[in-house]
Symmetry: C2
Subunit: 418 residues, 2 copies
């Protein structure tokens, strides 16, 4: 069995990422731990994982890389077409998010902070940060996007179990939240709004830092522990990937999974990286590449990214983790360079793939993860039709056991398209 | 790493279990597959696991045996006191139940049946059987105890995802269910009632067999795959158990875990087997050892067991899987012989232990499993007080991600005692 990696992989060592800009840059030192900002700017190829964090990783990593044998059989794939998935659902939080949450809580603790404020969309990130804060002895406040807050009541219970306090966003606790509520009392909320609230909360409190579950360079870097493991695991079984597929909201699970393979592609290896997003929030497939705010309150620096606009509020689809107006600058740059391609799917076809996967592989994927599954199935069937050999690897970013309301709506025929 | 066992262990080879009796014995051939009845009476020490079933086991077994290092540290235990837990929450159904569900679905399929009817308390068994039926291509109907049906809405979604149909029990579908509803329209239901309904359904349909998630000799035998693995896993790390602890409803997870160790105790080894039950359903700690029906409709043969009476309806505690009036004849006989001892806990102290475990070990246990955790913690603290060395192993029978309503009530101070 492979060991838990000792280092994160840093794509900034080989790829120029346009730096953030704007007046809000000056706010950063009051928002993030110094250690975090250091990692964000770092250009070294490998960044050591602190042993205290690696000790926690070791309790659940390496996560399994599994061959989808029953799915292959069900799809009647010829021998040369293989599907593998990397299981990040087996972490304590049920998704990949905890990989970065642990690093961020550790860095905050190191510098003596007492509390972390954050936002959460589907609740995966909030759960992960609650656990990480509990492990490193920090308080945790979570602004949860209103539509997820209402769709996923048990997510809240889970976060409360780990000692976090949860607010439905927009909330009355922040000036920005109150303004939004005045203008749009019935809004479903958005990640952009929730980030704005968590940032305002952080700026108001000296003992508090902010943590973000995706988008930023070093958050994506923390997730490369996934791809580093996949590299070792594929090597161990003598395989190499032709397609690597993941869903994208802010981009962190997909990036963590595929970034360690980008240099292989730069060096001539033929790997098809596919980022999958919902049609209702088509950041990569419909938006422009430009400098924009990461939040609706305009408190973040300007980030160079594909963005539907900082004030875009996507429909209340069940894949709450993919409801983000922007896209990580790293993923955006790789799209721009032609190293990654993007696909978008409708919510109903995505749940259909998720139901099929549940039945066949006996695992219930998160609605976000269903996007990757749908694309993996499509790629496999395309290869079959074209008589191609292909090894498809996708990232199974999280389980859907706390997203069963979405599946219920799907089974009851109540889901809306897009 | 150890391999998945090739055989089940059969305690009937060394322990005389009083046979079932009564007029209903004649119904058995119309209720169960012949292969199942053959296993139920079998006296061989080892029973081979069919390769088709072992292939499915291999997708999730062996399950991990984990040292509770953080819990030990939190409890400030001296070096000589160790706590291990066997993780049956990592199965596709989230609990140990699928180990027997797969065998039972396989046996039904072998003999050409098209459908399985069953009952479920907390929903763990119903979920497991839904998955097993999906894998072996059978239809599945589940009578779900009313209080769980209402407390655990997402359990239903999960079973529906695997293609099962679910009825709240008592239902209007059976004569027995209609009678109960007439007499007690507001009943919370019970496993005894739900079993009665599933049996009536089975007897009415020729293409249907019945499956039971616990109690019967061979159901417990199917679960010994757990204890066989634990034996190999402990040997691998050079440990032996002083205490083996599990929660008991019908008795299957605890039995599967400890039965392979009973001969060690018979041969003079000092192992303390502790069966933990809820105070509100005190089968082992308060009831008589007698012949009684396994269901409220009196359709089963008479079983020699500890029983609170076939018409006993326990309070609607959240540990729905432990709300059974009787106890497996095998566990009952072992209690009677003094080979196992029993403890009972109140629901609130049990959830308190579950919350502590969640925070420390970062896993949310099922309310049933919390009973084992509470006892394990108590045993560890007792050993610490008495300056004893002790290796405690308990069975972590399932996760509580679909039981968060119980935790919510606990956090909100709404849980009733007992």
């Amino acid at each position: 069995m492979i060991d838990v990696p000792k280092k994160f992989y840093n794509i900034q060592s080989v790829l120029e990422i346009p730096p953030p800009t704007g007046d809000n840059l000056k706010l950063l030192p009051s928002i993030f731990p110094k250690g975090f900002l250091g990692q964000e700017m770092c250009k070294e190829k490998f960044v050591s994982i602190p042993e205290e964090v690696r000790d926690v990783y070791r309790t659940y990593r390496p996560t399994p890389l599994v061959r989808a044998e029953r799915l292959e059989k069900f799809l009647d794939l010829p021998n040369g077409i293989k599907i593998f998935y990397k299981r990040e659902d087996v972490t304590p939080s049920g998704s990949h998010k905890i990989n970065s949450a642990l690093m961020q809580a550790y860095l905050a603790k190191q510098e003596g902070f007492k509390r972390i404020a954050t936002e959460t969309g589907a609740g995966q990130w909030g759960t992960a940060l609650s656990i990480a804060c509990k492990i490193f002895g920090l308080d945790c406040s979570v602004y949860m996007v209103r539509c997820s807050y209402n769709q996923k009541p048990y997510r809240k219970v889970l976060m409360r179990l780990f000692g976090a306090e949860i607010f439905s966003s927009p909330s009355k606790l922040t000036k920005f939240g109150r303004n939004v509520l005045k203008k749009m009392p019935n809004t479903s909320g958005s990640l952009g709004i929730a980030i704005g609230e968590a940032l305002e909360d952080t700026i108001k409190h000296n003992d508090t830092v902010y943590a973000l579950g995706s988008v930023l360079n070093c958050v994506l870097m923390h997730q490369t522990i996934i791809g580093m493991e996949v590299k070792d695991q594929l090597k161990e079984i003598g395989e190499r990937p032709d397609s690597m597929i993941g869903c994208v909201g802010g981009g962190s699970n997909f990036a963590g999974f595929m970034l360690p393979f980008v240099e292989n592609k730069m060096n001539g290896e033929n790997i098809d990286f596919i980022a999958v997003e919902p049609k209702s929030c088509p950041t990569l497939t419909k938006a422009d590449y430009k400098y924009d705010y990461g939040d609706t309150a305009k408190l973040t620096p300007l980030l160079k990214m594909f963005s539907l606009g900082y004030d875009f509020i996507p429909p209340a689809i069940h894949a709450g983790g993919l409801r983000y107006h922007g896209m990580a600058p790293i993923i955006s740059a790789l799209i721009k360079n032609g190293l990654i391609r993007a696909k978008a799917y409708d919510q109903i076809e995505v749940f259909k793939a998720g139901k099929l996967f549940s039945e066949i592989e006996c695992l219930i994927p998160a609605p976000e993860t269903c996007h990757a599954i749908k694309a993996a199935i499509d790629e496999a069937l395309k290869a079959k039709k074209n008589n191609e050999k292909k090894t498809i690897v996708f990232i199974y970013s999280g389980h859907g056991l706390l997203d069963l309301k979405g599946y219920e709506d799907f089974l009851d025929g109540k889901l809306k398209t897009s």
